[in-house]
């Protein structure tokens, strides 16, 4: 895992030149810095503060310093839920990559005038309401649904099987909803491949499979890394799919935090769980990147 965590780094690889920033560079960077300060760092800091507080019966924050939220958070059950969530996110990433890479490659190598259209074709299904889309999947996978009647009339099953409300349905739902976020970044890497280089790879007589694995895949690695991040990271805390298609029997970290925040009226505890999640994640990313820089 450290492979793909590490390679989508903000630090340019060696060999490219980078300068010390002048005034203009700072000015152009300032929107990003300001945005991060105001809307990322400030809320995160607030959240961390809240995680050390208490709350009243209506869920309002009481500013008494307390470590009880962390004491409560260090329990195997939350760890197990976090690991479950990471596992589903990882599985989703791997399947999205396997499904999405060939499609992204095809789109990226398609005639130039078709590329934009095909790219849009990947995204448009998601311009519908999430719930409507998910309920469509539910009616496909349900016991009296489309897939079961197809499988039965084809003679593959003799009676309807339960496809919905299972780990299979969760992974299917996650893969479906995150697939475009894998295809698009890979496409941008494939799109810039030099035709001559691709042809040369094939001409080396290495056979298409070796050309692919030894030349094309390494060249598109930044796209793979970016796609993997864009699928893996947001799917950790995603829980609408696990509850709707999985039946809600496997709690995920996002769901636990949501429920503590809302129904549990315990924002400090939810914030503590969230802070731990962020901390673990940032630490893993930082370690992976240091590791990669050392390798380089």
């Amino acid at each position: 895992m450290s492979g793909f965590l590490g390679s989508s780094s903000g630090v340019p690889p060696k060999g490219t030149h980078h300068r010390d920033p002048g005034l203009w560079a700072w000015i152009f960077l300032s929107p990003l810095i300001l945005w991060l300060l105001l809307f990322v760092i400030a809320p995160t800091a607030m959240l961390t503060l809240v995680s050390f507080a208490e709350r009243d019966s209506l869920g309002r924050i009481l500013w008494n310093f307390s470590l009880q939220n962390y004491a409560r958070a260090f329990d195997w059950v939350w760890l197990k839920i976090l690991l479950d969530s990471l596992f589903y996110a990882f599985l989703t990433t791997v399947i999205c990559l396997a499904l999405g890479y060939p499609a992204a490659y095809f789109i990226g190598r398609a005639p130039e005038r078709w590329r934009g259209f095909l790219l849009m074709l990947v995204m448009v299904p998601f311009w519908t309401s999430f719930l409507i889309r998910t309920y469509a999947w539910i009616s496909i996978l349900s016991k009296e649904g489309l897939l079961n009647s197809l499988l039965i009339s084809a003679g593959i099953f003799s009676e309807p099987v339960s496809l919905l409300y299972s780990p299979f349905a969760i992974v299917l739902g996650l893969v479906y909803n995150f697939l475009p976020f894998m295809i698009l970044p890979i496409y941008t890497s494939v799109e810039k491949l030099d035709n001559a280089m691709v042809e040369a790879a094939y001409d080396l007589g290495a056979g298409p499979l070796r050309a692919f694995s030894q030349v094309i895949i390494p060249l598109t690695r930044p796209g793979i890394a970016a796609g993997a991040m864009l699928v893996f990271v947001p799917s950790i805390a995603m829980f609408a799919i696990t509850t709707l298609m999985g039946g809600g029997t496997n709690p995920t970290i996002g769901e636990v935090i949501f429920k503590q925040f809302t129904a549990g009226r315990n924002q400090p505890f939810g914030a503590a769980l969230g802070t731990i999640l962020l901390f673990v994640f940032i630490l893993a990313l930082w370690l992976a990147r240091s590791q990669r820089e050392r390798e380089d």
Partner: protein, 254 residues
Amino acid sequence: MALGVWTAGVFVFLYLPIALLVVFSFNSSRLNIQWEGFSLQWYAALFSNKVLLAAFQNSLIVASTTTVLSTVLGTLGAWMLYRYRFPFQRALGLLIFVPMVMPEVLMGVSLLVLFVQVLNIPLGFTTLIIAHTTFCFPFVLVGVQARLQGLDPSLEEAAMDLGATPFQAFWKVILPFLMPAIVAGALMSFTLSLDEYIVSVFTSGSQSQTLPLKVYGMAKVGLNPQLNALSAIFIAATFAFALCGHFLGRKKNL
């Protein structure tokens, strides 16, 4: 060839539920579950449902503004982080991922508190767009960063040797090179914003109710098939638009 078949398969996977959703928009049953007969009633009802249409309009406003902001913020950020060596470079690179990994409820509530109690911005389009941009721009930034890796440094140098300022070199040379990643990032931002529920719950005001906010409680009575009709129309319109653009663009090229 095999790639083409695979890609076609992926498209079938992506459009399978969409096809069903369109079929159900012509279903006479109110419950989005079983087919009961053909009807156009949901299309008729949709056109007189000003609340749903207004919510959809709000969604488009928020999503398109968010897209523009995230694209600018993400592209500029990625380029500056690539081109120059700033202090805290690595910290900045890591911070980008915070909005992506942060559970939506934490982001929604903490931004709500920030807007209302610290910055004193009334809830509405502004707060909603800021919140959406916050979780969308990292997607653009990461995508553009990937495209930048392996960029031939001589590209910019050549432009500068020809007398271009760094700004001109960026505008004329780098930006066109980044365009596929920018378009991809814009598409992702638009999609993420259009569908966001939890962050929107906490950061929207009564004048800026987006479609997901109207939809999420609907499952209780059964999802209104007017939503299927709306989705079907929007998809059809997008296709018509894209195809028009595609063929018009082709004529120009000839």
